[in-house]
C-alpha cells in the first residue's frame, strides 16, 4: 500500500515535471554576424507574443558567427531549430551536405524566404579624406579596403558579388574586366577577417583601412555605436540586392518537437511588428510601410540579373578552385 502510494506520488511528480517542461520551450536560432542586435529585439518581442497566444514561455538562444562557419556547425550537429543566414548558398549546404531540410526550402516562405533585404555600402573615416565615392575608388593605389573573407563570411560573398556585378554591368563591362577589377580590390585588402563583424572591429576599433565595404545595416549600426562621430556612410550609385534568407531546420525541429513554435517564429518576421523591428535595425523590410526612416537611394541589381542565380554564382566564384581562389593566387 505504502509502496503504491509512493510510486503514485513519483508518477505525479514526473508528470508535473514533464508538464512544466511543456510550458517552457527553447529554440536555437543560428545566425550570421550582423544580426545580433536585431534578433535580441525580435526574440523578446516574439516571446511576449507567443506567451500571450499560447501561455507558453519560449526562450530563444542565439548563436552568431560568419555565415559559412555557422552553416558548417549546423551540419556538424549544432542543434539549430531555425537558421537565419547571410545567403541562400549556406542554407543549400544544410540541405545537400546535412539532409537537414528539403532542397526546395526557399519556396516554403514568402519572397524567397527572405523577410528583409539589404545591400552593400561603404563606411569611410569622417569627412571622407580619401574621397571615396564609387566602386572604382576602391582599386586606386594606396587605398586600404577592409572586408571579410568570402570563404567563411556570407557578407563577404555579397561584397564580392557587388564588386564583380557592378564591374560586369558597367558600360563596356565584361567578365575579364570584372575579374581584373575584383583582383585589384582584393590586392588592396590588408586583412581578411572571417566575419563581417570582425572586419567592422578591424576598421573601427583597430583603426585599420580607409574604407569598410559592408552591409548597410552594419554601417548604420557603427554610426550608432560609441564611435559614431568618426565615420561617414558613402552610398555608391549602384550595388547589389542582398537577400539573407531564413529557414526552418526541419529535421532538428521535428526531433526536438519545436516545429510549431519555430514556424511561428519565422512567420513573425513577416508580421507588421516583426517588419518594424527589422526596419529599426536598418534591414530593409519587405513591407516598405513598416520603415520608420528612409533608406539611402541607390540602384540594386539582383543576383539573378547579374549572375543567373546563387547556384551559378557559387559554382563559378566560390567553389574550390573557383574565380575567388584564382584571384587569391594572383594576389
Amino acid at each position: 500500500m505504502n509502496r503504491r502510494a509512493r510510486s503514485f506520488t513519483l508518477l505525479a511528480l514526473l508528470t508535473f515535471a514533464l508538464g512544466l517542461q511543456a510550458q517552457n520551450v527553447k529554440l536555437l536560432n543560428v545566425s550570421y554576424d550582423p544580426t545580433r542586435e536585431l534578433y535580441q529585439d525580435v526574440n523578446a518581442a516574439f516571446a511576449k507574443q507567443w506567451k500571450a497566444k499560447t501561455g507558453q514561455t519560449v526562450t530563444i538562444n542565439q548563436s552568431h558567427g560568419g555565415s559559412g562557419k555557422q552553416a558548417r556547425a549546423v551540419i556538424d550537429g549544432l542543434q539549430a531549430d531555425v537558421v537565419t543566414l547571410a545567403l541562400a548558398g549556406d542554407i543549400d549546404a544544410l540541405a545537400e551536405k546535412g539532409g537537414l531540410l528539403p532542397a526546395d526550402w526557399q519556396k516554403k516562405l514568402p519572397q524567397n524566404s527572405t523577410p528583409y533585404t539589404s545591400t552593400i555600402l561603404f563606411l569611410v573615416r569622417k569627412g571622407n579624406p580619401k574621397g571615396i565615392r564609387d566602386w572604382n575608388d576602391l582599386v586606386r593605389p594606396g587605398i586600404q579596403v577592409i572586408q571579410p573573407n568570402p570563404k567563411t563570411s556570407g557578407g563577404a560573398r555579397w561584397n564580392y558579388l557587388a564588386e564583380y556585378g557592378q564591374a560586369l554591368r558597367a558600360p563596356g563591362g565584361s567578365d575579364a574586366k570584372a575579374k581584373a577589377y575584383v583582383a585589384a580590390v582584393y590586392r588592396n585588402v590588408p586583412v581578411l577577417d572571417s566575419g563581417a563583424r570582425g572586419s567592422t572591429t578591424t576598421f573601427i576599433e583597430r583603426g585599420i583601412g580607409d574604407v569598410l565595404v559592408t552591409w548597410e545595416n552594419e554601417a548604420f549600426l557603427a554610426l550608432e555605436g560609441p564611435a559614431k562621430n568618426k565615420f561617414d556612410i558613402v552610398v555608391p550609385p549602384v550595388s547589389i540586392l542582398a537577400e539573407p534568407p531564413v529557414a526552418l531546420v526541419e529535421k532538428v525541429a521535428a526531433r526536438r518537437g519545436t516545429t510549431a513554435v519555430a514556424k511561428d517564429y519565422l512567420d513573425y518576421l513577416y508580421s507588421d511588428e516583426g517588419q518594424r523591428i527589422v526596419a529599426r535595425h536598418h534591414f530593409r523590410p519587405r513591407n516598405e510601410k513598416a520603415a520608420s526612416h528612409a533608406f539611402p537611394n541607390l540602384k540594386r541589381f539582383t543576383i539573378d540579373e547579374a549572375f543567373g542565380g546563387w547556384k551559378k554564382a557559387h559554382d563559378v566564384h566560390f567553389k574550390d578552385g573557383g574565380l575567388f581562389d584564382q584571384i587569391s593566387i594572383i594576389r
Binding site: N61, D76, G77, L78
Partner: protein, 289 residues
C-alpha cells in the same frame, strides 16, 4: 671556488652596459606583459566602477563563469588522476614504450588548439565517425557541455603529468622500497610515502592545469557552437561582448579572468618554491642568512 670567480668575472661589464641590459629587460617586460594587463583594467574601468560591476549582473556572464569553472573542475580532476598515474609509471618504473608514452603525453602541447577542437568534431560531430550512432541515441557531445569539457581536458592533458614526472624521477624509489620492506601494502606506500613526497609538484601541476583550462579559447571555440547562456565559456563570452561593441563589459570579464590568472601566478610561485625546497633541502640553508 672556480665557479664563483667565473661568475664575478662575468659581472665585470662596465656600469652603463649593465644598466642598458637591465633597462632592455625591464622595457621588454613592461611592453609585453605590464602594458597589456594595464590596458585591460583601464578599459574595464573606463566608464567608472558602476559600469564595471554592472557587467557582472548579466545572467549570461554568470552562466559563462559557471560553465568555465565546471569545465575546469572536471578537466583538472581527470588530468590529476591521469597525471599522477602516468608520472608514477614514468618516474618509478622502466618499461618498454616508456619514451612513446612520454611523447604521447606531450601531444596536446604540440597540436594547435584549433586542431584539437576539430578532432572532436570529426569524431563526434553529426558527420563524424560516431556522430550517427550518438544521434540515434540522442546523445549530444559536440556543441554542448560535454564537448567543451572534452576539449578542455584534451588541451590541458599534459600539465600534471609533465610537472610530476621529473619530481617522481628525482625522488627515486628508496623510500618506497623501505616502506615495502617494513610491511606497507601497495596502497599504503602510495598514499603515505609517494604522494606526500610529491605534493608540491602535484599542486604546481594542478595550478598550471587550472589556469590553462580556465583560459582555453581555440579548442573550445570550435566545439562550442557559441550559444549564449548555454555553451559560451568565459573567454568565448568576452569575445562575444567585444564583437557587440560592449567594450566595458568585455574588458570587465577579461579583468576577472586576468585577476584569476594573477592569483594563480601567486599560488604557482608559492608551490614552485616549496617544490624546489622539497627536491633540494640544501637550498633552505643556503638562502637562510
Amino acid at each position: 671556488m672556480a665557479e664563483s670567480s667565473r661568475l664575478s668575472a662575468a659581472r665585470q661589464e662596465s656600469r652603463p652596459v649593465r644598466w642598458l641590459l637591465i633597462l632592455a629587460a625591464l622595457g621588454y617586460l613592461a611592453l609585453f606583459l605590464l602594458a597589456p594587463l594595464a590596458a585591460v583594467f583601464a578599459e574595464a574601468f573606463k566608464q567608472g566602477a558602476a559600469a564595471y560591476f554592472k557587467a557582472f549582473e548579466d545572467a549570461e556572464a554568470w552562466h559563462a563563469i559557471r560553465l568555465s569553472l565546471l569545465a575546469m573542475g572536471i578537466a583538472v580532476a581527470l588530468n590529476t588522476a591521469f597525471g599522477l598515474t602516468a608520472a608514477w609509471l614514468l618516474g618509478k618504473f622502466d618499461f618498454r614504450g616508456r619514451n612513446l608514452l612520454t611523447s604521447l603525453i606531450d601531444l596536446p602541447f604540440a597540436v594547435s588548439p584549433v586542431i584539437s577542437g576539430l578532432i572532436f568534431v570529426l569524431l563526434f560531430g553529426a558527420q563524424g565517425w560516431f556522430g550517427p550512432w550518438l544521434a540515434d541515441r540522442d546523445i549530444r557531445l559536440i556543441f554542448a557541455t560535454p564537448g567543451i569539457v572534452l576539449a578542455t581536458t584534451f588541451v590541458t592533458f599534459p600539465f600534471v603529468a609533465r610537472e610530476l614526472t621529473p619530481v617522481m624521477l628525482a625522488k627515486g624509489c628508496d623510500q618506497e622500497e623501505a616502506a615495502r620492506m617494513l610491511g606497507a601494502s601497495g596502497w599504503q606506500t602510495f598514499w603515505r610515502v609517494t604522494l606526500p613526497s610529491v605534493k608540491w609538484g602535484l599542486l604546481y601541476g594542478v595550478i598550471l592545469c587550472s589556469a590553462r583550462a580556465m583560459g582555453e579559447f581555440g579548442a573550445v571555440s570550435v566545439v562550442s557552437g557559441h550559444i549564449r547562456g548555454e555553451t559560451n565559456t568565459l573567454p568565448l563570452h568576452i569575445e562575444t561582448l567585444y564583437n557587440e561593441y560592449q567594450f566595458v563589459a568585455a574588458f570587465a570579464c577579461a579583468s576577472a579572468l586576468s585577476l584569476l590568472a594573477l592569483v594563480t601566478l601567486a599560488l604557482k610561485a608559492f608551490a614552485e618554491r616549496r617544490r624546489d625546497l622539497d627536491l633540494n633541502p640544501d637550498l633552505k640553508q643556503e638562502t637562510a642568512p
